[in-house]
Subunit: 441 residues, 2 copies
């Protein structure tokens, strides 16, 4: 009776999970170095939390269930609504800025394809309680540093930065009413996925009177903010100037200034074509892209100043991002960065003859208690077979128990890298394994 | 618009999650030292996996859902069925013994009470592919060592050990048919929970002709196996001897012998009243009990030699346990073992005057890249306020940037524990932060 795994889930056997654990470690280490604290929330939330907070795309992919009391629940498809709910519940007690991270497993019932699964892990980093661009820059910084720790360089990825407020000001300046912005974003968000002329036609049919698709994308394709300013000031464009537009450009400039001071400007570029799918972004938005595959985003995030206000008492500025494990794993794998040799502090305990198991088990327990990864064969084999196992398991030392040596109160210690043998007192090994094993002749 | 969390789930704010992270670290570290490899599997499994493999109690508590293709899924209530499925799928490729661990989040729709939640983490440790009692002992060993690492001693917990095969042989020896054993176990499993005489009456009504409840529990309350052997041999009991009974006693003795060799016998005791709820156990079973609250089990497990055979091609002996985070956290909290002071390798970077932000941000990024948890205020405050923040965040050093000092190319470094100030070259700090910060005068 064979029961298959669920489609879109992963059976992570140890050799497949080890690289993901390395990614988790890089995420955590970078988060802590950058002053973020770890939190965790429920996997099950009330369905309403997502109905209210997530974009339509995510709501359509929700795994829904009903509990024994008839309540409608959902498996979390993203972490931000939980974060917002938790912060709102303690809004007065938490000191600002709130800098939190987590590494939840998320669930989306979407079509399975390369880089997209129904269960995946996602690193979430958020700064809440400040509108200062230092917060946005710090989010980008911690993301860059984690990827660097994993071996990726500025040759491998780039941070594409846009600003929803800037885009909104452009759309408003072109005469598109605010109530139509969501529809405009939805079209623009598809530009990278769908063939250009399909979107172009759809755009011009709906918004062509306000601004032509080609003109808009000419404007969005500027390489820097000075050029954008020049173009807008030149009077060639259909965009009416506004204080809001000026403020949005200044805010974006400020973000780039902090990124320069943090020393990571070489990773970053202005890319106003970045829109982001989620409904709640209000300011800078960004994506980390694989440079060898421009359509592949490793990470996405941005500022969402209005979300907490909707859930709690008062508005609370916030910025954050999510980085999944699936695309990142693919990228690291393609570059051979996942099969770095594992250094293991492992020791093998062997018995050269029968009848020494009681002593062997005692040595094994003592070495483990001293912190060594300690291996032994459950069923005794010949010594050379045992040493082969030790080698295969990457053990650094083998401790060999023999009749003659134990009679003298000593054991043999074999250095598995160099091959030298030496003797050490059994009592000393049990008492202070570290001193005995690490002793240099 | 306030949306509450789901009952039985936890909002783990950073100060509540930190101790759970410490528990995770202890679980992982002990697992790796004892030669176990980490794996992870899906949270969503086909409902049938549990219908086939778990006890009725767990199946009744399952969170069920239907995916977009109409398939019946469930949230995993335990990890063993996933483990069995994964091992069965690669049964021929995996070298024995298979020693795996994982730390999944599990889901049970049960009544919420102290120590029981609907979402919790559970450490799982399993050895597959050997019937040798060394495997059972090694599972108990790794559990004991993880609890020791967390600060618990033999005064705090004990390992209660029984053997399903031994109990089965006693029941058979008393004349209870094998088809009735599951019913007998279900009654016996309730003895600790329900008042003794209720179970006594139910037992005697059903099995009194075979063996009286009081006689059975006289037998099960023996302190050691020699006494059990003596009682059985004395002929006073209603139990017919059998080869199976002898083998089960010998197997249990063997387990205790290995536990003695591993040096953890002082944590272990024979307790034949331990039954375990799950259907699939076949040999030794064990529970770790809080000594100050005898009804509270921290951990439970045992041998399940038949489970893999049902899922795959051939039977495969196996033993393992699960240890949840909820009861363990309560136990550690009651003993004050969760509020051990955190040692943090943190540095604070302060600016004594306005206008130094660009330099400050560069120092922050350099220290973080060098591995220091580095804090700073987003918005500049007076120096004394900044140093207070540094203190509150437990920073070990403060790096202070000033106009006069930067003019000379140096920064001040304040030792936050001792209070001494010294100066260091700014360039040197950026180039090799560790050497500069850790330098001793």
């Amino acid at each position: 009776m064979k029961i298959p795994p669920v489609k879109g889930t992963r059976d992570l056997y140890p050799e497949r999970f080890a690289p993901i654990r390395r990614i988790f470690d890089a995420w955590r280490s970078a988060s802590i170095r950058h002053g973020f604290e770890e939190f965790e929330g429920p996997t099950l939330e009330m369905l309403d939390l997502y109905r209210e907070k997530s974009g339509d795309e995510l709501v359509g992919q929700l795994y829904r269930l009903t509990d024994s009391g008839g309540r409608e629940l959902a498996l979390r498809p993203e972490m931000t609504p939980t974060l917002a709910r938790m912060v709102a519940a303690r809004i007065n007690a938490l000191s600002r800025p709130i800098k939190w991270f987590c590494m939840p497993k998320l669930f989306r019932g979407e079509n399975v394809q390369r880089g997209r699964l129904r269960e995946f892990f996602q690193w979430n980093v958020d700064v809440i309680g400040t509108a200062d661009m230092v917060a946005d820059a710090e989010c980008i910084l911690v993301g860059v540093e984690a990827l660097r720790d994993l071996g990726l360089t500025e040759k491998d990825f780039r941070v594409h930065i846009s600003n929803r407020r800037l885009i909104a000001s452009l759309l408003t300046g072109a005469g598109i009413a605010e109530t139509d912005h969501a529809g405009a974003y939805a079209l623009m968000d598809k530009v990278a996925m769908v063939e250009g002329d399909v979107i172009c036609k759809q755009w011009n049919r709906r918004f062509g009177k306000q601004i032509d698709f080609a003109d808009l994308y000419d404007l969005l394709s500027v390489a820097d903010l000075d050029t954008l300013r020049g173009t807008l000031a030149g009077g060639d464009s259909d965009i009416r100037p506004s204080a809001n537009l000026d403020a949005a450009i200044a805010e974006t400039e400020q973000l780039f200034t902090v990124l320069r001071h943090f020393g990571i400007i070489e990773y970053c570029e202005l890319d106003l074509e970045i829109i982001r799918g989620l409904a709640y972004y209000t300011g800078p938005v960004f994506e980390f892209h694989d440079r060898s595959n421009a359509n592949r985003a490793i990470c996405g995030g941005g500022r969402y100043d209005d979300l907490l206000g909707k859930l709690g008492k008062s508005p609370e500025p916030a910025v954050g991002f999510g980085m999944g494990d699936v695309v990142l794993s693919l990228m690291l794998e393609e570059r051979g960065l996942l099969d770095a040799p594992q250094t293991r502090n492992a020791v093998f305990v062997a018995d050269a003859v029968d009848g020494l198991r009681p002593k062997l088990l005692g040595v094994v327990a003592a070495l483990r208690r001293a912190g060594y990864q300690t291996e032994f064969n459950y069923v005794r084999q010949g010594l050379s077979k045992q040493l082969k196992t030790a080698d295969r398991k990457g053990c650094v030392y083998a401790v060999i128990l023999g009749d003659e040596t134990l009679g003298r109160g000593v054991v043999q210690i074999k250095d598995m890298t160099g091959g030298q043998h030496r003797e050490a007192a059994m009592d000393a090994l049990i008492e202070s394994p570290r001193e005995v094993l690490e002793a240099r002749p």
